[in-house]
Structures are given as structure tokens and as C-alpha cells.
Amino acid sequence: MEKISITIDGYSLEVDPGKSILNAALEADLYIPHLCHHPDLPDVGECRLCVVEIEGGGEIRTSCKTQVEDGMVIHTKTEKLNAMRRLSMELMLANHVDDCTTCPKYLKCELQSLIQYLEVSTSRLRRTLNSVPVNTSNPLFVRDLNRCVSCGRCVRACKELRGVDVLDYQMTEDDRVMVDIKNHHSMEEEHCRFCGACVEVCPTGALQDKEGVLKPNLNWDLELVPCKAECPAHTDVPRYIRAIKEGRYQDAIAIIREKAPFPHSLGYVCMAFCESVCRRKEINQSLSIRELKKFAADKDEGLWRERANFKPKTGKRVAVIGSGPAGLTAAYYLTKLGHEVTVFERLPVAGGMLTTGIPKYRLPREAVQEEISEIIRAGVTILTNTPIESLTDLKAKGFDKILLAVGAGKGNRLPIEGADYNNVYENIDFLKGVSLGSSELVGDRVVVLGGGNVAFDCARSAIRLGAKEVVIACLETREAMTASEDEILEGLKEGVKLLNGRTFLRIEGLNDKGTGVRCQEVSSFTFDESGKLQLILKPDSEHVIKADTIIFAAGQKPEIPQDWDVPVKRGNLIATENEIKVIGRNDLFAAGDAVYGTHSVIQAIAAGRKAASVIGQELNGDGDIEDKLTNDVIPSQYLGREEGFLEANRNECMDDCYNDSSACGEAGRCLQCDLRTQITRPKLWIHYKIK
């Protein structure tokens, strides 16, 4: 297109015809004050701050609504214009609370920055504040219209960008005009989609997110999308949910795989930290993010493989000790960075807790196996039945770097009498035995000591092995148990008995076999300053729980072979710098539960990714492990009105997995918090070259 020439304040510009004077100026880094203009919204010329004079053009005009014409000579800062702007600003401020320091938008406010630029105060005018109560009656936003200047950006964002049309200029009782929810209704009544576009474009503190909904984050794109921020691997949740909604299942799985090589396993057992912060839960219940992940993984046809990025071979070799999710994830990404990776696993199967800890009934082994095969297909060598006793020997085999991803695989045995009878097990050993198929592990009566999720895994596994009576005994009350409510309920349903508030005195036994656990009831317990447990016991409450099998489920810690000579800290955790580099060693790295104790699969995956990236850098690469496994589909900014959207309840997955229509329905509940990140953040005057 042929450019045209204009002059703004003496600067000659070549610009595309059809542009507004304001845009032409701003693009040339020339500031013209403006408030109701927003780069993503249609211009209306209502704040009257962008006024300009055009030589020979007669009247003063708003530059946002005036198109450039060839030869135009434009002035933006004449005395008359400055005076007009100041008056417009004074008029807005007359009808605006005057205390910025108590405002949530303080120092981030476009209006405040303009006040500064125009150097205005309200003293000449009469106050006209239209006092209204701060409206917090909706689940997600605070509407303090005492700080509103009726710029109408929110109205346009909701109507033009989103097509929902919740907001408008409204008459008050006193015939004043204010921007409010249509018909002075509630947001729900006007079918708000809670997309946050209005809050995003508001230049003042009038529209705010409720406190606590978004956690402050230096990365704005993460701050606005809590599910993605909370996921340790920052899985792009709204993007894959949208793909499911639109029936693009291969895109969905590809998006999940961009951040984690174990999508199917996660679909079964992820702790779903994302769901605990999902914004939708403020309306009714959180999205069923994990079930949707399982659904997408179920549909995986592997199309993403063609796009996985493999860098040229580097000739460098890395040893990974431990084939849990941390070790295998690191191995996978290190291989893609071009390094030759060997994983050493002491057990006969790879997968760590995925295959030898978490019971089969929660995580089908086929799902894990397929994911491990995928990692092997990428070029990772996994040597099972290969415990590593000496790091020096390993190093001598020619590895440039070693990653310790040994997990927290050693169960704690309480130091009580009888703890070493041979029918007394540790949680991890017991579950490992169950997974590897030794069903002779249990007798008729099983007692599990401990109240966490692992205790339930042990107890429910015991039931499946044929135990007749399974008891979970623990110190905590029912309410204070650390196990998730789901696990407790499932356990009770399957017949597990709970004995809360017990302390264990000793294991009674005969010969080398335990026969029961001697307990006493506890009325309360605290921890003293040094962290030591203080019990208040119920008198005369000693009793014995009869048992044929006793299982300790009192936590677990990493097992570090003597000869390794790596620094450890409290809980036998490997001491690291930045949770990756082993302190004092430049060839040793550590990741996963071995560093921070038992956490979760997704945390282990995130740790594995970070390890791959750091090791990649240490091996003189850029350490860039990011994958782009699908084409970007630019999401539509348009949402439209949808009756019933807010009422839709979480679609609990009753069968093993969603079907196409229930998945689509559930995905449709997402508020698409990420759409807000697509909205341009306007520059303030400070950021323009010519002000």
C-alpha cells in the first residue's frame, strides 16, 4: 500500500493510509494522551484527551477518530489543547475518589499516570462523586465504581471483543450516567462469562480481581492463568481444554506432551494442584482437569512425534540413576538435546513409584509401560536390575554427568519393640512386593500404621490380596488425617476400618512373628519447640489390635548408598544448590523426591525437565527443551452469551473415562482464563520516546 506523509509536532512520518492520527503517532513513539483508547478495542473518542489541531482543518478533533490524510500537519501539544485536556481530566477527577494510596491499582494505574502527566488537581471544581457501594457480590471481581471514570473500555471489551454484552452506560436514580452491569442486574443475571476482559482493560482501580484468586507472579501470563501457574510443569491447561472442547484431540494430547512425557499416568494419579486453584471453583466447582487429561491421553495417536524436536548428537554421555518419573523425564529431554543417556534402575522394572509404588488399581501398568516405551523409542537406554553402588565406578565408564534420581524409597520403621518381626513390613517394600507379584505377603488380619495416602494404598492393596480384616491405625483424628478425602471414603467403602488417635507401644509377638500391635488412645498431641511429639494419653486405654501382617506407613526417605559420598541434609535428602546441582560437585546433579522428599509425579516431572535443561547448559548447550508439538490455533476472543454456562456443574467421571460428549461438556465449563493474556497491555506515557 502506498504510504502517505504527515507531520506531527514537526516530525515527518510516512504512514499507511486508513490509520487514525493517534495510532500513527503512537506507532512512531510519539505520545498523545489518551484514556478511552485501547489498542484492542474500537475507538469512540469519549475521554477527549487525544484532541489535536490540524492546520487548516478548523475545529479541534479527537485523534483517535480522525484518519490521517496526505499532507496533514498536526499539532498535539498546543496551549489550547493542553488546557482542554487538563479540564477533561479535572472533570473526571471531580467524580472520582481522591485517595490513590488506598487503591489496589496504586502505582499501576493508567489514570494515575495520566494525572501525573497532565499535572492536574481537582481544586478548581466542585466534587461530584457519585458514591456507590463497592460491589463484591459476584464470585470473582470487585467493582468499585467510585474509581470508575466511565471510559467505557469495559463496555466495549465485553460487547465487541467477547460478544457477551453484560455492561453498559446506565442511568442512576438521579439521572446520572454511570458504567454498570446492564439493567443494574447482577453479573450472573446478565450471563457474564467471567473471562476477565473487562478487568483487564480497565485503566483504573474500578475493576479488580478479588484478592486471593490470582497469586502474584512476575510472569503475567502465568499470574492470570492460575491452573497453569500452579502446575509444577506449567502445563498449558486452558489450551488443551479448548482443544478437547473443539474436538481437536490430537492437539490436546500434543499440548500436554509439550510439558510432560507421562500424560496418561498423570491422567490417572496426578494430584491436580491445578484444580485446587481453578477460577471456576469460585463459581461452582473446579474444572475436572485431570480427567480431561486422561481423556486426551486415551485418544493419543502419536501424531505429535513428527514434531518432537531432536537436536544433533553431541557425543556427550549422561548417566541417570533411578527410573522414576524424575529420572525418565530428564533422560528423555537430555536425549532430545542430543546427549547419549543411560538410565540405571536397581529393580527389575522401570518406572519408579509409577510401577512399584502406586498400586495397579489406581494406575494401570499398561499406561505407564506405553509411556516408558515412548521414552525408549526416543533413544534412552534403560538398564534394569542394575543397582548403582559406586559413583566412582560409574564415572569411570565415561559419563560426563550423573543425575541422581533415586526417589525416596526407604520406608520408616518406628523404633518400637518388635518392629523387626518378619511379618512386619515397610510401606514401600510392601507395595513393591505387591506390584512385583508376591501375593503371599498378607495374612487374614492386616494392620497398617499411619494415616496418609500411602497407608491407604497399603490397606486397599491388602484387601485386594484377600485380607479379611484391614485396619488403619494412626495418631491423627479422622479430620486431621493427611490422606485425601477421596482415598478415605474409597477405603471405608472397601471395608477398611479406621482407628484414630492411637499411639503404638510395641508389637506383641511369638518367636519371630508379630501377633498384634499394643496401642494406647491419645486424647491430644502437640509438637514442642524442638519439633518433638508431645502426647496426652487417655488413662487405662491400652489394648492390642490383633494382626497377622503389620505394615508401617510412617513416611519414607531417600536411600543413599554409603559409598556415594554425597552431601545429605535432614531426612537423608540430597543437599543441592537450586534443587539441581549437588553441593560441591560439578559432575553430579539430583532431582525428584531424593531432593525434597515424597511429593508428586508431576513435581518429579518438572524436576526432571529442569535437570535436563541445567545439565544441557552445563554440557555447553542452550538447555532449551521446549517443544512445539502442534500448530498454534489462535483462540477466538469471542465468547458470546451462553445460557446455562454458569449453572453447569462439574461432570464427575463415573465410568473409567469421559466419552466425547461428556468431555466436551466438561471442557465447555472452562472460563478460558488465558484469553485475557491475549489482550494488549497499553503502554504508559513514560514508555514513549517523545512525550
Binding site: V44, C47, S88, M92, N95, S150, M171, V177, N183, H184
Partner: protein, 228 residues
């Protein structure tokens, strides 16, 4: 709660807008006090602004609040300049002809009647005797015939007197409603924006109060008090 309908002048023609505004203006053209006139006009017109542009929405509102405050005696130095600036900016900077037209009218009033505005602000006077805050009702003692009609009509009971007595209005409680003026057949009730002439302190019989004798008695009272 369903909001009231808003006028959308941007969708109307210049003629429609001008017709509407001149109708409102006609209603006030006879108002002899320009401050009160602008006050009444801006109060009506601000309620009809579509409210989308700042200068029109906030400008007319400011004019209305400002002029009201002047009529109530709270005018400040600089108010005139503000009114003048707002109306000028409205006339050149509003987004549609509604704001521009209102601005033009306001500008004409303030330009033509600057002096009257100044008298309201500086001297607290309303020469047209419209702005209640600045006027005082009183009973002219030489005209009052003691009919007691005014006393009976005065709602806040601000008039003292009785049959055959010269009535007296208490300016502190008088609401300046003007009802007594209507009731007074001989037209004894007057209003002024300047200072009130000397009046009897107490209701005295009709005829006993010649202006100078009142003066005399007042003076003698004063003198007497001083000599005590």
C-alpha cells in the same frame, strides 16, 4: 431494578437536538436571574446527556453543581472562569451536537451576564430577586394594614403580629416561599437583595409607626441603653 432509558443523541439529527434544547431553553428564557437560569437549564440538560463523553457528561453536571452553589451563596473566585472554560470546551470538544449546543448556550449566558454572576459571587446579591439565599422578605410598616392574612398563610410560622398590628417577618426561619406576598392585599410584603430598612422590633399598632419615629425610638433606645 431496571434502569431508565438513556437518550442517544449521537443517533439523532442536528435539528432534533436543537429543537429539544431550544424547547428547554424557552422554558427558562423568562427567568430574570442568569445564574438561576443557567442552573435550571444545566440541571435539566445534564439529565439528558447520553453520558458517553466526558466533557458533556461531567461538564454539564459541573455547571449545574457550580451554578447551584453560587445561588446558594457559596460562589468562589474563579468559578466564572471555570464555567466559561467548560462551556467553551463543550462547544468545541463534545462528541455530538448535544454537548456542543449546550456549551454554546452556557457560553452565551456567562459571556453576556458576567457582571450578574460576579455580583452573586462577590456581593452575594441577586438583583433579579430570584436567588432565595440572597433575598429577604419584610413587611413595609407604612403599608401593612394589620389584616393578619400573611400570618395565617405562613407555613413555617415566621410572621409575628395580630389584628391591627404591624406584622414582622423573622428572616432566620423564613423559607422565602413567597406565599405571604400573595396573601397580602395591600402589597406590604416586599423583598430585597440589599440591606433591609429599619423595622419595628415588636409588632406595634398600625399607624403608630412612622418611619422616622421608628428611627427615633430606635435611636432613643440605643441612647438610653448607652446612658445606663
Amino acid at each position: 431494578m431496571i434502569g431508565k432509558e438513556r437518550d442517544r443523541w449521537k443517533e439523532k439529527s442536528v435539528d432534533q437536538i436543537k429543537d429539544f434544547i431550544s424547547n428547554v431553553y424557552e422554558g427558562e428564557v423568562k427567568n430574570p436571574c442568569p445564574v438561576d437560569r443557567l442552573k435550571a437549564l444545566s440541571d435539566t440538560l445534564r439529565r439528558k446527556s447520553c453520558g458517553e463523553c466526558v466533557i458533556c457528561r461531567e461538564g454539564i453536571l459541573q455547571l449545574s453543581v457550580l451554578t447551584e452553589s453560587i445561588t446558594l451563596g457559596s460562589g468562589r473566585d474563579g468559578d466564572i472562569d471555570v464555567i466559561s472554560e467548560i462551556s467553551e470546551d463543550m462547544s468545541i470538544g463534545s462528541a455530538c451536537d448535544y454537548g456542543r449546543e449546550v456549551g454554546r448556550i452556557a457560553k452565551k449566558i456567562i459571556d453576556d451576564e458576567r457582571e450578574q454572576f460576579e455580583r452573586h459571587i462577590k456581593r452575594k446579591r441577586c438583583d433579579a430577586l430570584v436567588c432565595k439565599k440572597f433575598i429577604t422578605y419584610y413587611v413595609a410598616p407604612e403599608t401593612c394594614n394589620g389584616c393578619n392574612q400573611c400570618l395565617e398563610t405562613c407555613e413555617p410560622r415566621s410572621i409575628r403580629g395580630g389584628e391591627g398590628l404591624i406584622h414582622i417577618i423573622n428572616p432566620d426561619s423564613c423559607t422565602r416561599c413567597g406565599d405571604c406576598v400573595m396573601a397580602c392585599k395591600p402589597g406590604a410584603i416586599l423583598k430585597t437583595s440589599a440591606s433591609v430598612p429599619n423595622l419595628p422590633k415588636e409588632p406595634v399598632p398600625v399607624g403608630s409607626a412612622q418611619l422616622d419615629s421608628i428611627q427615633g425610638s430606635l435611636m432613643s433606645q440605643k441612647r438610653r441603653r448607652r446612658s445606663e
